[in-house]
């Protein structure tokens, strides 16, 4: 059948409301008599709470209730879905009562008739603290006291070793083992819409509705119902418009359960909208891994083995997936290379900081950064071209599905093809010549390369803590419009459009006739959510298969209605045809609903539901190349060009794929050059506002020259791989490699992110002082 939509740059159907300010994010939903909640949060990284005096606040104007840790006894702790052998499990209560373990740890909640009054009253609450020594550095934390959780007598949350191959033998047989300490600094996801919850309890119906800015409405419903000890089918979670997530809303937070509980106490709607300051303090952070890399090589550039001993900073508590993130790092350590022996040794530690968890890429960018830095270290060591080192270690296209020493099977790939295309687009040879000239003229110009692979389409259920499938229902309504219900819960990725494209093509209808509904647990069948670059590869596949089932049924009914042999019926462009007879699918749908003439045994209605369980992850890949110049006088970096060739399998909508790649690259740019969540030695958060935490702005970003190769994934019938995290995974090392290459003439082989002008300037000026 001719495709009209799939593969084309179709404008988004969600945009008209958003560009006119007519979408509804949580704070845009207004219910009568809504009360507003403000939190009192710890101002210390580690302190004993010796008293909370809420008497003045309770009497303040507009205040309806004040709750402290003593009041919330029956609410279960914040859930963590991952469980590793011998992992320490601290209980994370929704309000702290004895001790505060990080800045921003919620201590009390004030409920008032308006948000200003709630904040006024929160300021009147007197908390007495006895400050305790804070644990802030991962290496020291692992070594011993003081402890974040006294009861464990250690700060080590768990230790884990993974990987295959004899690493010791691999190193013995190497010509050289290169060592490097590498930091993946702590980052804040900073979705532009902070978190927010609106809770409404109807005591008569005993029904609680939570509107929450989340990526996982169904998982949240299950978890919050457990936390509140209420029947899951009396809890409805609605995710209205969500203003970005990047993993930060792939979680179940204390506030979500607490708001529900407060509404149940008061029988009135309650709302809490996170401030940006709260967002920095108490929404998950990402990365925060400090590791020692060892890489064994032969003289010709062949990598024989890779070991990574890494400290992973969990923060004070676990959120939903905190302990699982370093395991993803371990899985990805083979990068796009054939490395016979790989070992990761994780030491996960508690610190007096906010929890880390899945931030765009979730453990994979960390690994890719390490591997891609490793390739450049090898190149520097041997005086080889970084591209040649990579080429040398690629698996050949005929080796797919390719098994790594981290235990993965890469589904499909042609790494050389993407590399060649990027080299051509960049005119790599010429770049090298230009660089030589620039260097001769005393300029610091560097070329960065990264040839990444990532794990997407999370994932087979066996590999995920809470189900890795996705669901879809498609139906044709009596009047002929098409409704798609997806368990994925997109929040900016554009699946309202891309799923409508799939449905439009499969049913031969216009996308205007298709409505995609998501993010309401009372309307949509159970689903897993949007994260891990899975919505299209897993959720889109569920839609696709459901559509096939719907068409099968419609075809049988059409045959019956036309009085022809079902085997003779063909479907094209929205019509069932057999010989001279023909019927539109909408007509068939109406008959299915009227049900006056159905074949023997056929159920009325025209709808199909499918739960798709993927057999494997998918493994998108690509090559990024960029050119950076460092200003000798200021240390400032200018990106002269940025070239990316990504392969995310089959593309449903190139416009949306470009958007995902561009956004991802700029988030990588943030990590490479600007962003860093910094706590001081007392556990005080020094980067608690957008003033202190630098996000990339329009003037910091290069023009990105994008291109693609398309290697369909064999894992799903759409051939889609996923693209949401590609940019972030591929770009970070590319950017850093370019800057380090620029400074290579000064003897620089590695620098830790973010590459601030000050750091670079110190190196440059220090060096020129020495040589003067």
């Amino acid at each position: 059948m001719a495709t009209k939509y799939v593969g084309n740059r179709v404008k988004r159907t969600e945009d008209p409301r958003l560009i006119q300010g007519l979408g509804h994010y949580v704070d845009d939903i207004k219910l009568p008599d809504t009360l507003h909640v403000a939190f009192v949060r710890s101002i210390y990284g580690h302190a004993r709470i010796t008293g909370v005096d809420a008497s003045a606040a309770a009497k303040a104007p507009g205040v309806v209730a004040v709750y402290t840790g003593k009041d919330i006894g029956k609410i279960g702790g914040v859930p963590c879905a991952s469980d590793l052998p011998e992992m320490k499990k601290p209980e994370f209560l929704v309000l702290a009562s004895n001790k505060a373990l990080f800045v921003g740890h919620a201590i009390a909640a004030v409920v008032a008739t308006d948000r200003y009054l709630a904040k006024d009253a929160a300021d009147m609450i007197q908390v007495d603290y006895e400050e305790l020594p804070a644990v802030t550095e991962e290496v020291k934390a692992a070594a011993g006291a003081p402890y974040v959780h006294e009861q464990f007598g250690t700060n080590i949350a768990y230790k884990l070793t993974a990987g295959e191959g004899d690493i010791a033998a691999a190193f013995r047989s190497s010509d050289k083992v290169i060592k490097q300490r590498i930091l993946n600094q702590r980052l804040a996801p900073i979705a532009m819409e902070p978190r927010g919850v609106l809770a409404r309890y109807y005591p008569g119906e005993q029904e609680l509705t939570l509107w929450s800015s989340t990526q996982i409405p169904h998982l949240m419903r299950t978890q919050v119902a457990l936390m509140l000890g209420m029947p899951e089918n009396r809890l409805r979670v609605i995710t209205p418009e969500v203003g970005g997530g990047f993993g930060s809303k792939l979680n179940v937070y204390a506030e979500e359960a607490l708001l529900g509980w407060i509404s149940m106490q008061l029988g009135q709607p309650v709302k809490w909208i996170e401030s940006r300051r709260e967002n920095f303090q108490s929404t998950i952070h990402g990365r925060a891994q400090l590791g020692d890399l060892e890489i064994g090589i032969r003289k010709d550039g062949t990598v024989t083995g890779l070991r990574y001993n890494v400290f992973a900073d969990m923060g004070a508590y676990y959120q939903l997936l905190t302990p699982a993130i370093p395991t993803l790092t371990g899985l990805m350590l083979s990068g796009s290379y054939k490395i016979p022996a790989i070992q990761i040794n994780v030491t996960a530690v508690f610190t007096n900081k906010m929890s880390t968890d899945a931030y765009r890429g979730a453990g994979r960018p960390e690994a890719t950064y390490v591997v891609e830095r490793a390739m450049d270290l090898v190149a520097a060591e041997l005086g080889m071209d970084p591209v040649e080192v990579r080429r040398k270690n690629f698996p050949a296209p005929n080796e797919f599905p390719f098994k790594t020493a981290t235990g993965l099977f890469y589904d499909s790939g042609d790494y050389v093809l993407a590399l060649e295309k990027a080299l051509k687009n960049a005119d790599y040879k010429k770049l090298g010549e230009e660089q030589k000239k620039a260097r001769a003229a005393g300029r610091l110009v560097g070329i960065g390369v990264s040839t990444y692979v990532e794990i997407c389409a999370l994932g087979p259920s066996a590999a995920l803590p809470a189900g890795g499938w996705e669901s879809a229902t498609v139906r044709i309504e009596p009047t002929g419009t098409v409704t798609v219900l997806t368990g994925a819960s997109p929040h900016g990725q554009g699946q309202e459009t891309s799923f409508a494209q799939i449905a439009g093509d499969e049913l031969g209808v216009s996308i205007e006739a298709v409505t995609v509904i998501h993010g309401d647990t009372s309307i949509v069948q159970y689903g897993i959510g949007t994260f891990g670059s899975r919505a299209t590869a897993v959720g889109g596949t569920a839609v696709f298969v459901a559509l096939q089932r719907l068409k099968e049924k419609a075809s049988k009914l059409a045959a019956h209605l036309m009085g022809v042999d079902p085997a003779t019926v063909k479907f094209a462009d929205g019509r069932f045809t057999s010989g001279a007879k023909s019927m539109a699918i909408q007509e068939v749908a109406l008959h299915a609903h009227l049900a006056k003439s159905l074949p023997e045994g056929m159920e009325p209605g025209l709808s199909a539901t499918y739960f798709f369980e993927p057999k494997n992850f998918t493994f998108p890949f690509g090559t990024h190349i960029c050119i950076a110049e460092v200003d000798k006088d200021t240390g400032e970096i200018t990106l002269q060009r940025y070239i990316a060739v990504d392969d995310c399998g089959r593309v449903i909508n190139p416009l949306l794929v470009d958007g995902q790649v561009q956004g991802g690259i700029v988030q990588a740019l943030g990590q490479a050059f600007y962003e860093h969540v910094v706590y001081d030695e007392n556990g005080q958060l020094l980067t608690g506002t957008l003033m202190d935490y630098a996000l990339p702005r329009a003037t910091n970003c290069p023009w990105m020259e994008l291109d693609r190769t398309e290697t369909p994934s064999p894992v799903n019938p759409l051939g889609v791989k996923g693209v949401g995290e590609a940019g972030t995974i591929g770009a970070t090392p590319c950017l850093v490699n370019a800057v380090i290459d620029a400074l290579a003439p000064l003897g620089v082989r590695h620098l830790d992110m973010p590459l601030k002008p000050e750091t670079l300037w110190r190196i440059i000026s220090g060096n020129s002082a020495r040589s003067a």
Partner: protein, 161 residues
């Protein structure tokens, strides 16, 4: 003590008594129910709250409602006229200038102001004009293209007039 204010928003005049401390953005969102203007920070650094106030793009989280007394304000809800999108809105749609849409109203207001002042901006000028508006989704490139598209459209329209 509340103070009386009168403001004209998207062509409609409103009179209210507000507490002196109420921010304009809260007045627009909570009193007038114009929720297209968003809030992304408390430090005037994100631009999500940008509106047109007497012809100037301002961050409405840094203006008190009381200060806006007598002002003419256009919020994102006022950009489409009689159901016809503003060229900048069109550009954002055509060129996929938004993903989650949260920064979008502020971006559109800031971009529209640029094009009023400079109908033919360079890429660098566009980037400079939206430097005060953060977007965490798009990487800005499609936003730049959206503004370029709008500039072409507006020139085309001007030529046709």
């Amino acid at each position: 003590m509340k103070v009386p204010i009168q403001v004209t928003v998207n062509g409609k005049t409103h009179a209210h008594e507000v507490e002196p401390r109420v921010l304009l953005v809260h007045y627009l969102r909570d009193v007038l129910n114009l929720t297209g203007t968003h809030i992304g920070c408390e430090t005037s650094l994100c631009g999500a709250c940008t509106v047109m106030l007497d012809g100037q793009a301002v961050k409405s989280c840094t203006v008190l409602a009381a200060q806006a007394n007598g002002a003419h304000i256009t919020t994102i809800e006022g950009f489409a006229v009689n159901g016809r999108l503003h060229p900048v809105q069109e550009g954002f749609w055509e060129r996929h200038g938004l993903q989650c849409g949260y920064c979008t109203p502020g971006m559109i207001v800031a971009s529209a102001q640029l094009l009023e002042r400079n109908p033919d901006p360079t890429e660098a000028e566009i980037r400079m004009a939206i430097e005060g508006n953060l977007c965490r989704c798009t990487g800005y490139q499609h936003i730049v293209e959206a503004v370029q598209y709008a500039a072409r459209r507006m020139k085309g329209a001007a030529a046709a007039d």
